[in-house]
Amino acid sequence: MADRAPSIQSSWWLRRRTLDCVGLVALVLVMFPFLWLLQMSVRPTQDIMGYELLFTPTFDHYRALWTGGFAKSFVNSLLTSTFSTVLALLIGTPAAYSLSRWRFRAHSQIALWILATRMAPPIAFTIPFFLAYSWLGLLDTVFGLVLIYLTFNIALVIWMMQTYFDSVPKALEEAACIDGCGVWKTFLQITLPLTAPGLAATAVLCFIFSWNDFFYALILTRTAAQTAPVAIVNFIQFEGWEWGKIAAGGTLVMLPVIVFTLLVRNYLVQGLTSGGVKD
């Protein structure tokens, strides 16, 4: 400590390590509630309230869920989320490209409208959709859910893809298409391949948002088109709080989301904050 330089060095090192420790403690605190559910899902029923870390894991809860009709709602969730994602991409990607390349008078109004659909409270959509669906016979159908999920997915696709398209220089498209080939040919051959990673990230986010939905599915489905999040709640209403099965159901529902999150984590930031920080 007599010498000045090493003292600064060591205090700097100490501060770094202290901060790292604080970060790790914060990580444990944040992860704890989530990890607790995971461990509950493999804990035997008679010991479900236990907190000893050493126990023999069991997959009984998962087995009971899977044979008890949960699989069907899981398939419904997959179908709904996939169809809604594909439709949103088919409709939204060309629109995003047009908005990125074409400056017209109502441009900013349309942008505001799209932002407004992202902001609108779901209850405002559910009341008219519920009334219309009961009249049209679309209640409790996969198609009905797919359609209402488009309310947020199209806005998301347009918002995200527009920024990706903006980042492709126009000169590049022009250089590649000197003979003046059509707008959509250029789009398919030049621009879309360049933004493919962005497209993949957008698709994953659409899928996650549809998969995570609880409110719309709660109101617009009963049994035939019931999705996994609603199935867990219904299961609670019929069988009471069977914690092991609830934890297993919750784990199954969050599994795809966690996997996808890790897959696209580098692109996730833009999508999750989309509208918040553009560019």
Binding site: G23, L24, V30, W113, M119, P128
Partner: protein, 304 residues
């Protein structure tokens, strides 16, 4: 035939414009059908006394302002707005504070921080219903590790969600856990854009970390903090699964925020007209906040 009327450059532009138009048209058509039409229908329904028990009420426009007048005389509705304000205030404040703290922590250059960064995002991407179930476990004394630990140290605590005084706090804590990653992400992104030179200069001038933060870093990230807070404010109005699973609006109506009140009026009592009016008021409130966001967003971009 077109070629003979205009010069070829003009028609090329027109052709391009047509192509763009057809790219945009399907999305606009679908969005009109699934957002604008329902919004208009909601507005129309809100002017009628439409309800399940009263056939023919869907087209009764004899007292169009009835639902709105009722709402402002309905103590439960006014109370729900007050509860919403409390919930929004608490959660937005807590999420900004926690998000800022963690963003500053994660922004330090260290391998540990880089490695754990993604893990902090997990609460935000989890299905909201799973978040609600996780907190149901934590708030149920029989099974909650928190309650059991407190009881072990001789400090048994009754469940927060069954007491009308603490139920809202319990919801707010769970909501904060779920959404602090959002504010953290936005603030972290802003922190990474703070230029190096003023920070170097501060180091040379031997500024304390606090001075550096307050006079250099904070002015840079303030717009991002405001935008993140407004986004959370708007989204806090939509909180549903947490309230549905944890308290179902109770005990009594202690956690019945406006969104939840509209849900009950519509889907428990089938008072479609009245529920539509409440939903319309919510949309109006959110619209005002959204305009605020887009203004700020534009100003931020100009500043940059």
């Amino acid at each position: 035939m077109q070629r003979s009327t205009g010069n070829s450059g003009n028609s090329w532009v027109a052709q391009q414009r047509r192509a763009y138009f057809w790219g945009l048209a399907p999305a606009i058509a679908v969005l009109v059908l699934i957002t604008l039409v329902p919004a208009i229908y909601l507005l129309i329904t809100s002017l009628t006394p439409m309800s399940m028990v009263n056939p023919g009420s869907a087209s009764d426009f004899s007292a169009p302002a009835r639902n709105y007048i009722d709402a402002f005389e309905d103590r439960r509705f006014l109370n729900s707005v007050w509860l919403q304000a409390q919930l929004s205030f608490f959660t937005v404040t807590a999420q900004v504070a926690l998000g800022l703290g963690l963003a500053l922590l994660l922004n330090t250059r260290s391998a540990v921080m880089r490695a754990i960064r993604t893990a902090f995002l997990i609460p935000m991407v989890l299905p909201p219903i799973v978040v609600a179930l996780i907190w149901k476990v934590l708030y149920t004394p029989d099974i909650s590790p928190l309650h059991r630990t407190l009881a072990y140290f001789g400090l048994p605590v009754t469940s927060l969600i069954t007491d009308s005084k603490t139920a809202m706090l319990a919801i707010a804590v769970a909501d904060t856990w779920q959404w602090f990653p959002f504010t953290m992400l936005i603030i972290l992104a802003a922190l990474q854009m703070v230029p190096e030179e003023p920070l170097e200069a501060a180091k040379i001038d031997a500024a304390t970390p606090w001075q550096t933060f307050w006079f250099i870093v904070f002015p840079f990230i303030r717009p991002a903090i405001v935008v993140a807070a407004l986004f959370r404010l708007i989204d806090s109005i939509k909180a549903f699964p947490l309230i549905f699973v944890l308290t179902d609006g109770g005990p009594g109506s202690a956690t019945q925020v406006t969104n939840y009140y509209a849900y009950i009026q519509a889907f428990s009592f089938s008072y479609w007209g009245y529920a539509s009016a409440i939903a319309t008021l919510l949309v109006a409130g959110i619209f005002v906040l959204s305009v605020l966001v887009s203004r700020l967003d534009r100003r931020n971009q100009r500043d940059e």
